[in-house]
Subunit: 327 residues, 3 copies
Amino acid sequence: MSFRTYKLKEIADYLDGEVIGDKEIEIRYIFPLDQANKNHLSFFYNKNFLNNLKNTKASAVILSKEFSGECHTNCVVVKNAHLAYAKATKLFKKEMSKTGIHPSASIEDKSLIDSSACIGPNSVIESNVRIGENVIIHGGAFLAEGTVVGENSIIYSNASLYEETLVGENCIIHANSSLGSDGLGFAINDSKWEKIEHLGNVRLENDIEIGAGCTIDRASSGETLLKSGVKLDNQVHIAHNCEIGENSIIGASTAIAGSTVIGARCKIGGGCGIVDNISIGDDVMITPMSFVTKSLKSKGIFSGGPILMKHENWLKNAASARRSTKK
Amino acid sequence: MSFRTYKLKEIADYLDGEVIGDKEIEIRYIFPLDQANKNHLSFFYNKNFLNNLKNTKASAVILSKEFSGECHTNCVVVKNAHLAYAKATKLFKKEMSKTGIHPSASIEDKSLIDSSACIGPNSVIESNVRIGENVIIHGGAFLAEGTVVGENSIIYSNASLYEETLVGENCIIHANSSLGSDGLGFAINDSKWEKIEHLGNVRLENDIEIGAGCTIDRASSGETLLKSGVKLDNQVHIAHNCEIGENSIIGASTAIAGSTVIGARCKIGGGCGIVDNISIGDDVMITPMSFVTKSLKSKGIFSGGPILMKHENWLKNAASARRSTKK
Amino acid sequence: MSFRTYKLKEIADYLDGEVIGDKEIEIRYIFPLDQANKNHLSFFYNKNFLNNLKNTKASAVILSKEFSGECHTNCVVVKNAHLAYAKATKLFKKEMSKTGIHPSASIEDKSLIDSSACIGPNSVIESNVRIGENVIIHGGAFLAEGTVVGENSIIYSNASLYEETLVGENCIIHANSSLGSDGLGFAINDSKWEKIEHLGNVRLENDIEIGAGCTIDRASSGETLLKSGVKLDNQVHIAHNCEIGENSIIGASTAIAGSTVIGARCKIGGGCGIVDNISIGDDVMITPMSFVTKSLKSKGIFSGGPILMKHENWLKNAASARRSTKK
């Protein structure tokens, strides 16, 4: 791998920060404090890692003013070190060398694909699929009839977009995710299940990132909607007719059941289960492994993860919980 | 999208129901009460939504006799409104336009594929794969050697069927699901793991639906078996040698460990974990996020999901649970 | 299916065991005690199945000396019956008939692929991908730029390996798994999320098995590392910058958050959640459905799964837990 090299002052200018130390030093990559070495940039924004700051071998560290005294090497002082770190990573991102439509891609109608888009090998683009400027569809991805992908979006390998899935601008959908599968909708018919056909679709607004191995079901009718700025970690499940509010973020392996509405700027930890047909207000935080059974209207932090203990204590606890409820 | 239009009396006849109101009104689509408008059909079967019924703008509503008095618009009175709704959705389902074998599909032996089957672009059909009448294999799906797919079944994009996987009639397997992977079977050999080869397979009887992103392991020997009518939501995991009884339904992100046997007509919520080598009787219901560690023989409803509370209360609760078990 | 047939003495020799009974009997397959019949070999290593041993119809059973008296049929007496069973399965494994590069595979540079490797239909091998001796890449798999797959490794269908993913020797990656997706890394920027570009990669040492539908995120910088002998069940999630120690094994649907380090020889059950930035020592066992929020240094068994009870008791328990924490 070869990357561009920057002088520290160039980086500081880009981050709107100020160098304390050697402005001319060359920076070749970015690493955490404990892994960084000569010509590496690092970052500090979490006091738990203060010891790592003191011992780092990095040539420079991004941090906020209050910690510049703790830094024995060059530093770039910024207002918000976490945000500046995020911006700095963009300097070291490898450029994609791919362009154009790979001859092995199966494309029904090329006239709907912007000429700047990149379509990878052995991908499938069915009929009436519109693909915007600078979109990248990686190899093996599948876009069914009527799909739309807005400009600058990226669809990774082996992702599956069912019929009529709408993806906005600047979205990223990671590998092996499925958007638009039928929801779990059945009516009982004499102890057998009669399928409810799912006639709706999935719509993603802009600036959304969907992790790998996620599943988002199409609506029974209408749409399953992710609003702008939503971020899903890997293996998240969003059921039919859900709505996820702007800039909400959801941790890995969380599952949200049908028709539930999540507000804006929520932070939902990994491994949670949220039942169907409830609503969660704006700015709610739910810690990992929680089970949400009722609507939550107020802002606040809610928790429900099970408590870890030594195995023998858990056995006692289980026996006592079962006993006390039998009284 | 364009759909067929129906007169309300046509729909009532199809549903074996009776119109109260304007039999001639045109119906173009079906929507929930709160989203429906003019020329839309809606449905009511859950009293929690009585307010939506009173305020709906739908041109007609499917409901049972006891609620016809609450309906201010046209209605179709039926015996079982949920079931009638499921049947009504089939009227508005878009027809697939695809037919035939796409030239980019890789097919080892076309003679084993029924001429009515549809095989999508860039899919893979290995040797000795038998595909029945009216089967649809979507783009990017993979069917390994010796797979069988019975008539009217649908395999969605990027699903993976390992060697000898047997799929019955009228089954649906959603995108990115894997059937037939090896189970987690290892024997300790001097603190290293010696692999147990998985020699069995996966068999699905008829009328089964597997959600997106599911994983079903092949048996170590013999078969992992899903009996007719089983429905799995997305991201369900079924381990090697499990057996799931007829018409049982399992919610998203539930994992069932090896050799466990689930009875018929069970309803298992999402996010559950069920340990290996146990058996669960017929008609057992388990609510979401439960952990099942022992066989359950009796009918009944079992629960074990963790309890949500404000974060500060959870911290107190955790401290107290740990303290009390240490005594 | 046709398999090789062995005489019982041949099997005993291979397993370093001793036959009690008919050394010449023909063995055609291996089955659990309750499914085995004439000419089948079976195995016994778990006392819970003693009744099955007494009633088996198998022609022979692998077991340890202390149980030979309980066996009414021929037996192969070995030191470690579980390990001997694992080894015996290898005798009955079907040979792969595939070889060579399928013409429908998209391969950027064949010169980097060992001539003994097998590349399946409609798979994608991008530029600078090195593939070692006897590697098998199944149909529909995707290997991005700069990927390396060491000798004897197998990549199953529709698996996705992102840029620079490094896979060692004798590894197995099951279907629809994703290695190298970006971690969930964002910094807040005025209530919107600024993406942290993930510049690192995923590296797997040797003898690793990754189940179907797993997701392993690339490091933000540096590497997400699985050490030799690690075994993951299906649908496991490993976040960016994690390190999993040698020969640790992780059950299905467990999720491990960013930068957490797991020691060697750990056994982590299915359905667990483990928070970010903690470390778990060597030889720690965590039972299924647990939530790990703090580092665990000592050896030992830890548990935290929620307790199953009748639904009406769970409701009482929930009310009481909420009440007691409000005091």
